[in-house]
Assembly symmetry: none
């Protein structure tokens, strides 16, 4: 599925579009016949927007497919996640706030435990805690390879990320992780001749980095995997003619936004109110605002039905701050469902609300919830439909054909 038909239709406008993503928004009743998390929440503002706007439900990837956060956001941004693969190295790197541009090569690193012969005895270095691993990562930071720039950051527990930047780098490189204990880490080996230079440079980096950690009790070795570069996504400016901003607390979502050319708005704090305040400050500088709200997903993964409902109420209570900016189009949805009942991401459709005071066609629905969205005016759509719908309701698209 391609969105090439959008670009020729774009037209200038001063309209403002807000896409508010409550991560993992969709849910399930915790008991048979009961309400979902969203249906149980008291949320007068969202319900008013639902009454005035149009509801629908989104399929994030394809029916039945549960997405990770990367593909789920790509789809909402209008990039077919079955066509564009962000790549593990890139996703890890942008997830901790590192930039990965075209031509850079990113890899995920694992600390491992080696015996005296250099053979891996534990592929995850005893799953050392993050506070220990951070110190080991510090020892890797000074390592430099002539001719390129390398950047290393800790991710979580035994995991870190490396980005290499320079000329002539291609990520066609096999993992150095042998996948089994009892083997030595492999050399970085190019799969095609294009990957030769980067493989050689990564091997130099490994040779310089390994002695730095050789005396660590557990994390005395490392492997690299998932070599990848920027996935080659066209930017929001190219695709949609939009100056786009990202307001997000978590690095992962800032990272994916950066891959599609959004600018990251910095702000202090991490509540919905803090995010809406950041939105207000950035309001005049952008056309499109992606606001990411994480805790709906976290509460779902914790199995905390009541906590997820309560957090939706917190967002609702802060919403007037957003509404007083008078967006032309406000979309409220999730990237996927995370029902507290399942304690994990799921495939269930995502509730979708589009409010546009000048252009939205109201349906019969008067509250924002899974059941009402299933009967909403948009019907069942793909997450990839949200950007064209947003542009249309913001009067940013000319008609197709005469």
């Amino acid at each position: 599925m391609s969105m090439d038909y959008i670009k020729p239709l774009l037209r200038q406008s001063d309209s403002k579009i807000v896409l508010m993503v409550m991560d993992g928004l969709g849910g399930l009743p915790i008991e048979s016949g009961g309400p979902t998390e969203l249906e149980a929440a008291r949320k007068p503002n969202m319900d008013r927007l639902a009454e005035e706007g149009t509801l629908g439900q989104l399929i994030p990837i394809r029916p039945g497919i549960t997405p990770g956060s990367g593909p789920a956001h790509l789809a909402l941004f209008g990039y077919d996640p079955l066509r564009y693969d962000i790549g593990r190295g890139t996703l890890e790197a942008v997830g901790v706030g590192m930039k990965v541009n075209k031509g850079d090569v990113a890899a995920r690193g694992n600390f491992c435990t080696l015996d005296q012969d250099g053979v891996i005895v534990d592929r995850r270095a005893g799953r050392i805690p993050s506070d220990e691993a951070v110190k080991v990562v510090e020892k890797l930071k000074p390592v430099t390879v002539p001719g390129v720039e390398t950047e290393v950051r800790h991710v979580k527990e035994y995991r870190f990320a490396v980005v290499m930047r320079g000329e002539g780098l291609e990520p066609d490189i096999d993992d150095t992780d042998p996948q089994l204990a009892g083997y030595k880490p492999l050399a970085a080996k190019a799969r095609t001749s294009q990957g030769n230079r980067a493989a050689e440079l990564f091997n130099q980096w490994i040779a310089l980095a390994s002695p730095m950690i050789a005396n660590e009790p557990k994390a005395n070795g490392l492997t690299l995997r998932g070599f990848a570069t920027h996935p080659g996504l066209a930017s929001y400016a190219e695709m949609y003619g939009l100056r786009a901003a990202c307001i997000a607390v978590y690095p992962m979502y800032r990272g994916v936004s950066q891959l599609v050319g959004m600018e990251i708005v910095d702000f202090a704090g991490e509540t919905p109110e803090d995010e809406f305040n950041a939105l207000a400050r950035a309001w005049n500088d952008f056309d499109f605002f992606f606001i990411h709200i994480k805790k709906t997903d976290s509460k779902g993964e914790d199995g905390d039905f009541g906590g997820k409902s309560a957090f939706i109420e917190t967002v609702d209570a802060a919403l007037p701050k957003l509404l007083e900016l008078n967006p032309d189009v406000l979309m409220i949805t999730g990237d996927h469902s995370t029902p507290a009942r399942l304690r994990t991401h799921s495939w269930h459709p995502i509730p979708f609300l589009l409010w546009a005071p000048e252009t939205a066609r109201p349906d019969d629905q008067v509250s924002f919830g899974e059941r009402s969205c299933a009967r909403g005016g948009f019907g069942t759509c793909s997450s990839m439909d949200t950007m064209p719908l947003a542009l249309a309701h913001a009067l940013r698209l000319n008609k197709y054909g005469a």
Copy 2:
């Protein structure tokens, strides 16, 4: 449309999935404003499942397209019927219980009436009744061609099927039916050089078979058409990691199931209760069960609105036998619609019910019918969505991407 994205996501599970297809389930009101056959039926079990589960309606092929039974079932099984053509010869052969493997060539045969010069005077041999034709087919069975195995079975009235099995056979062969009376049957002629060997062997078979029936009063000649082989479908085990069983009374549906690698469960009787008993006996040996129930379609084709409703009630009354097996996912749907009002297959969407006590998201609907399904939580889907939805609700799929 391809389902290649499913296979990498499969994960092990002990969960059990049942797909119950009531053939031709979808209907129409017999009088303006009235209920459909399904809506008119008293079916407390299905209505309870509808209340607890999720409804939707399925488009079998594309909107407006009325399917035959072959493509309709392929779609339900997750194979794009516009991409995979079973081929008339293969469909007829598997429809009467013959096996058609890759490399076999199947053809449909018609008896015809020849004059003393060998010219066709009736292409359908006076539409001789089945009991007469069966005896003529018996005369063909001893015919053998050196180097290959041939199998012949009667289909219905003047129609029979032949399957040839051996090395180097390809079905690129034109029909021997000249399509008009007044001509002699044609020789089997290869369309490409690949078809040469099979064409030559079929001509040998025709030359040996023709004298066997030359003295028949009506069926004294034959033509062959629709040369075809196995359509090359990946099996259920390959596609979905499922050990799949077919429980069906009619050979046609057993045949299509066999083409996708289902095992056929043998059983005595032909009532829904007999089928559910067979299900219970096979329960421990498979992950997936396709149960085909024919009479909804037959009653629809007879124009028997009341009979179709009554038969749905019979199925509903037997359903507790199925439910006491505690399937993780139960889907109830049809392969297409056969409204009694139209007395034939139709293009109308098919009511679809998915019940999964642990994972289904309930919608607002409380009964199983065309109107409620049109407003169900799945919205309007393709028949090809049923298998991914089943796997998801059975927790048999990992998430896509990180």
